[in-house]
C-alpha cells in the first residue's frame, strides 16, 4: 500500500499547497516543548552555562563571540546574586506581624488545590467505574 501524500486529503475544501508555500505558524515559540534550531554551537554554550562543561571546552572560533557575551553578562548577574534585603525590611515585617499566635491546622483542614487535569482524570475514572458497575448489573 502506498502512502497518500496529498495534503488536500484531510482538508478537502482547501487547495493543495505547492512546494514553495511557506508553512503556517502553528503555536508561539514559547509554548513548544522541542529544542529550537540553534545548532551545536548554541547547544555547547547552554552546556557551558549549565555547568556541564568548562569554558575551555566551548571556546572556539565559532563560539568566541557568544562566550564573550555571556562572560560580560555574568558580571552583572554576579552583582544581582550578591544583593541583600534592605535592612529596614526586617523591622518592617516584624512590626507588621499580627499579635495573634498562629494556630496549628490539621492537614485535612488546610487548603487543597486540585488541578483541572486531576479533576478530568477523576471524572473519567468515575465514569469508567460507573460503566463497569452498570455492565456487571446488566449481565
Amino acid at each position: 500500500m502506498l502512502d497518500n501524500l496529498d495534503p488536500r486529503d484531510s482538508r478537502p475544501d482547501e487547495p493543495a499547497r505547492t512546494r514553495g508555500d511557506a508553512p503556517a505558524p502553528v503555536r508561539p515559540v514559547s509554548d513548544r516543548e522541542v529544542p529550537l534550531a540553534g545548532g551545536t554551537a548554541m547547544a555547547d554554550i547552554h552546556a557551558w552555562l549549565d555547568g556541564e562543561v568548562p569554558e575551555s571546552a566551548v571556546r572556539r572560533a565559532d563560539t568566541a563571540h557568544d562566550v564573550e557575551f555571556w562572560n560580560r553578562l555574568e558580571k552583572d548577574v554576579e552583582v544581582r546574586r550578591q544583593m541583600k534585603t534592605p535592612v529596614h525590611v526586617y523591622a518592617q515585617i516584624m512590626d507588621s506581624l499580627p499579635e495573634k499566635v498562629p494556630q496549628v491546622t490539621p492537614w485535612w483542614r488546610t487548603e487543597q488545590t486540585v488541578s483541572p487535569m486531576l479533576l478530568i482524570a477523576a471524572g473519567v475514572g468515575l465514569l469508567a467505574l460507573g460503566v463497569a458497575v452498570g455492565a456487571l448489573l446488566l449481565r
Partner: protein
Amino acid sequence: MVTPAIDAQEADHEVITRILAGDRDAFGVLIKRYSDALYRHALGMTGSPDVAEDILQASFIKAYQHLGEVHGRFDAWIFRIVANGCKDWLKNIRRSHLSYEEDDQPSSFATPDEDLDRTELRTDLDHALASLAPSLREAFIMKHVEGRSYEEMAELLSTTVGALKMRVHRARESLQALLEEKYA
C-alpha cells in the same frame, strides 16, 4: 537556601514549633534565613526594589498567619508564596520601563567608566528581562541569579527538569538576541 540540608530543614521545624508555642520573635530567624534569596527573586521578577520589598513583606506576614499549615519544607513553601505574589503583581500591572534604584545597588566598582558601563548593561538587561514571558524570566532568574539546580527548580515549580531547561535556554537565546548587538 540553594540546597537545604536535612539539618536546616529540621532547624526550621524547630523554629516553627517555638513560634506556634507563642515565641513571636523566633519568626525573625526564618526571615533572616530566607529573605535575601526571596528578595532577589522578587527583585528579578518585578524589576522594582519597592515592589520586591512589598511582596516580601506581604509574603512573610501571610506565612506567619498560616504557619500552622506548614507540613513540608518551609523554604519551599515560602518560596511559592513569594513566587505567586510576583506572578499576581505581573498579572495586575503593565510597566513600560523597569530600572533598579541606584541606592539598592552594591557600590564596589573600580572606576567611573566601569560604573557607567555596568549601569548601562544593568538597565539594558532589566529591559530585556522585562520583555521575556514571566515563565522564562522566572526560570532565568532562578538559574542564573539564585544559582539553583534544575532539580531544585523543578521541585519548587512543580514541573519537569526538561521543561525548565527549555525555558532557561529560550530565555538565554531571547536575551542574547536582544542584547548582543550592543554588548557582544
